[in-house]
């Protein structure tokens, strides 16, 4: 079957030779031989055709045996391949389309995230998608839609849920599992997605709306940024052969496999995982302005306090969505109280914004330690924003203040041996130091954090010690940071500044909470000045301190258990559970030395759906913090978390949602391959700076699973070869037959002569 396609040259020579020796062809003379020739030809045709069919069938059967897997050579354009279960074979990565439908009712938002898992290959796969959610979101529902059926998930202890899922996976049933990796990082696994099929997983979460001064905002993180997972320090000898589970002594990132999904290289593939977002805003007050910080949106205003916001078109999941709105002047309430009754308890959510200090603030000089992250993940716009933010901060220092600057990547430098007065010469030196920084290397955050927390004068009352920490938080060893802050915060206050298109807000907000400071986010150069000015307003103004709460009956379960200090413009947010919301609640505190108090009448609370979930989520956070600060033993903290999670149907570190379709679908002998959904690199990130030069895998990258082998097709679709050579083959074949006919006739004539 492997004949040359253009055999014209050899047959042409034969024809000339025959023509030289014979007079012009006369059919009547060669009639007998032509008849015999035609009979032979017909016979041959039948034989050939049947053998051709047989070969075709065999070839096709051979291909079918290869099942789902493809080799790099047979990959289709634009496909990202992942290593499959069989060595040398690869699985096409599934794609995920996501839709976010957000309903904001006053202080809370309920979001339905719909993820469609599409299997582009021709075999059965298990899709694994790592995705972010707001760090304070309470995930309480999951549904799986497969083959027109809807399966509602149950909340189970994590290990039990995993066992149910694995059992369903083995027996060929469709199943979905939602697990928490970090409070702002979740994994959806979907087993047994058929060839070309789409399985839809829908999760819902409840989260509070953030308020800061007049501005309310919500943030939907859309991509998990690649996180730096520090290597285990030294060699751990483990006597029983099992890997050490303690984060303190062993691997700083015990779950590194789960939190480092594959990442697409933007130089060789287009961003995927398209996202659509709809926000139905019921602000509860007339809305003056509404703004999306990083995405183009369409806004409709059906009534003064309502807005309908949609993305201008699907976007690739490579940066956070941020929407903020403000109240029309003089309509912003300084107090908000919302209630939900579930079972035999009332749940309350209270926002109280303390007034700005009336008296001129007492000028206490500050001792400011600025920490700036110049690791590879900060490369590009992030580094520019961090530098601009730090330059702004240095410019705001007063001569009486003292300051120091620390920079880190996988190494670190401290500008001065100890904090120095903010003289013009010292500030100029610091500005030059900052300006010369370049983003590269790993993110070893812990030594820098420890250096900043190291306070040589812990009892010095003349200065307020403040740490301003600028980073994208792209690390996977958050727990080590929390441990360090909890154990050595002393008198220092920690102000986190999150930089870039997708910062790790779990690290930022928990670190700020443990460090009794605030979290400011800077997502673009345009936000540097406004947000840094707001942060400095907080740094320079006295906080509302010594807050306490008096509740009628005294039987309320309040979270946060110890009320934090509140900075200018920020509301105090509390969630409570009590048998019945009656009477008046009194809040006391001090602003700049002046006493302040506020009374709330609990019976006036407006209805607020989902408040109980927020209370439970907040309590779980408290338990996690107590575990970090060793206020609770790990066992007690875990027991508290588990009880709350099962009662309120929430996904936590210890509980997962699992859904299993009753009907088995994959035959036992069909292979199932695991395929992690590759993520986009957050906007503005530099692939090589994060992962190192493209060829070999850098420490952050899991080389055994990632390895994008055949990546093609950038912005455009490549069109395949779409012409058959049927006509060419037919013509060539007929030509050859003609030559053969001529040769046969010529021979007959010669013999006759």
């Amino acid at each position: 079957m492997t004949l040359p396609c253009y055999p014209f040259t050899s047959s042409g020579a034969a024809r000339r030779q025959a023509a030289d020796r014979t007079p012009p062809l006369r059919l009547d003379q060669g009639r007998g031989s032509v008849r015999r020739f035609l009979i032979a030809l017909a016979t041959l045709f039948v034989v050939l055709a049947s053998s051709f069919c047989g070969l075709l069938a065999m070839a096709a059967a051979g291909r079918a045996a290869e099942s789902a897997v493809v080799t790099p050579a047979t990959a289709r354009a634009g496909a990202l391949l992942l290593k499959g279960a069989t060595p040398g074979a690869y699985v096409e990565a599934p794609a995920v389309r996501a839709d976010y439908d957000v309903t904001v009712s006053g202080p809370t938002q309920r979001t339905r995230v719909t993820q469609a898992f599409v299997n582009p290959g021709s075999g059965w796969i298990e899709g694994v998608y790592v995705f972010p959610l707001p760090e304070n979101g309470a995930v309480d529902a999951m549904r799986m839609v497969v083959g027109g059926r809807v399966v509602v998930a149950e909340v189970r202890e994590r290990a039990a849920a995993k066992a149910i899922y694995e059992q369903a996976k083995r027996s060929g049933q469709a199943a979905a599992l939602t697990e928490q990796e970090r409070p702002n990082m979740f994994t959806n696994s979907v087993a047994n997605i058929g060839p070309g099929e789409t399985v839809v997983v829908q999760i819902e979460y409840q989260a509070p709306v953030r308020r800061d001064g007049d501005v309310s905002s919500l943030r939907i993180p859309l991509v998990v940024a690649p996180r730096y997972a520090p290597a285990a320090a030294g060699f751990e000898t483990v006597s029983d052969g099992s890997p050490s589970k303690t984060a303190r002594g062993g691997d700083p990132v015990p779950d590194r496999d789960r939190v480092t999904p594959p990442v697409r290289d933007p130089a060789t593939s287009t961003p995927t995982n398209p996202v659509t977002i709809t926000v139905r805003l019921q602000a509860g007050f007339p809305v003056a302005t509404i703004e999306s910080a990083h995405h183009a949106v369409r806004t409709e205003a059906p009534s003064p306090d309502r807005r309908l916001v949609t993305l201008a078109g699907p976007v690739a999941a490579d940066r956070d969505f941020e929407l903020s709105w403000t109240a029309a002047p003089a309509t912003a309430p300084s107090v908000g109280l919302f209630r939900e009754r579930v079972g035999d308890a009332d749940y309350l959510l209270a926002y109280v914004t303390p007034p700005a200090a009336k008296a001129a603030p007492v000028e206490t000089p500050r001792e400011a330690v600025f920490v700036i992250d110049n690791s590879g993940s900060m490369s590009g716009p992030s580094m520019a924003q961090a530098k601009a933010s730090l330059a702004f901060a240095l410019g705001r220092l007063k001569p009486a203040d003292r300051f120091n600057v620390i920079r880190f990547d996988d190494t670190m430098d401290t500008l001065f041996a100890d904090a120095l007065p903010a003289t013009e010469a010292n500030v100029a030196r610091a500005l030059r130091f900052v300006d010369a920084l370049q983003a590269q290397g790993g993110t070893e955050m812990l030594p820098a954090l420890r250096a900043a927390l190291n306070d040589p004068r812990p009892a010095d009352e003349r200065f307020l010690r403040q740490i301003v920490f600028l980073t994208d938080g792209a690390v996977a060893d958050e727990q080590r940071m929390f441990d360090a802050i909890a154990s050595s915060r002393g008198r220092s206050r920690l102000f986190m500044v999150g930089i870039g298109s997708a910062p790790n807000s779990h690290l930022m907000s928990r670190a700020a909470e443990l460090g009794r400071g605030t979290f400011t986010h800077i997502g673009s150069s345009a936000q540097v000045e406004d947000n840094m000015r707001a942060l400095f307003g907080k740094l320079e103004s006295p906080a509302v301190t010594n807050l306490s709460l008096t509740i009628p009956g005294g039987a309320a379960d309040v979270t946060p258990a110890i009320l934090p200090d509140v900075y200018r413009g920020e509301p105090l947010v509390m969630a409570l559970r009590l048998p019945r919301a009656e009477g008046a609640m009194e809040i006391r505190g001090a602003i700049g030395g002046q006493p302040w108090r506020e009374t709330l009448n609990l019976a006036d609370a407006a209805p607020g759906a989902g408040v109980s979930k927020l209370w439970a989520r907040r309590k779980i956070d408290d338990a996690e913090v107590a575990r970090t600060t060793a206020a609770l033993t790990p066992d007690k903290a875990d027991a508290a978390i588990l009880r709350l999670a099962l009662e309120h149907h929430l996904v936590t570190r210890l509980t997962s949602l699992v859904a299993v379709d009753a009907a088995p679908r994959r035959a036992a002998d069909a292979l199932l391959d695991r395929a992690d959904v590759p993520l986009n690199l957050p906007a503005g990130w530099d692939f090589e700076k994060v992962f190192g030069p493209r060829a070999p895998a850098a420490p952050m990258r899991r080389a055994d699973l990632v390895e994008p082998v055949a990546v093609a097709a950038a912005q455009e679709v490549s069109l395949p070869q779409t012409a058959t050579d049927a006509e060419l083959r037919l013509l060539a074949g007929l030509g050859l037959l003609g030559v053969a006919l001529l040769a046969a006739v010529a021979r007959r004539r010669e013999r006759g002569a």
């Binding site: 027109g148 679709v717 070869q721 012409a723 060539a732 021979r747």
Partner: protein, 203 residues
Amino acid sequence: MTRRLSLRTALVAVLTLAGLTLAAQGLWIPAKAALAQLLLDRAFARTLSEGRPEKAWGWADTWPVARISVPRLGRSTVALSGVSGEALAFGPGWAPGTPEAGDDGVAVYAAHRDTHFAFLADLVVGDLIEVTRRDGRTARFRMTGARVASWDRSGIDPNAAGRGLALATCWPFGARVSGPLRYVVEATEIEDAPVTASAERRP
């Protein structure tokens, strides 16, 4: 003389064999394309009724994903997933990484110019193109234009705004050898269109 005669007999036999093979292949390609469509049509009908992918024959490495039809020309063809050479031998291929017809973005289908997509040459701007999807929904498109592009610079962005359709085949139509140029028919979805006969096929 005997020696020359036997040489010539061998030559004739070889030429005949080669010619027959090539001619058989040349005839087999369009026959296979037509035969496969019959099987694919049945498999696609099963896909619609049972709501899951159905292969047209046991050893197929692809499966039907859509029916593309042009009512004015009375042409209809069942498209397969993927644009491998094997898939294109049997029907138009749905380019991977592009949305389903009727979803946001541009759905791309490609097929051979001398078999399944020969009719692209007869399409004119304004023609109605209907795509029945696996889920039974029929998306209706109106042809907006056609252009010739190089295979690797198609200018088709699958994530473009709106709902579009692109049908691609080799260009020029009459050529015997393959080249780098492609003929691309572009169409956009008609929204809120009146129900027609083809839409009644919905399950």
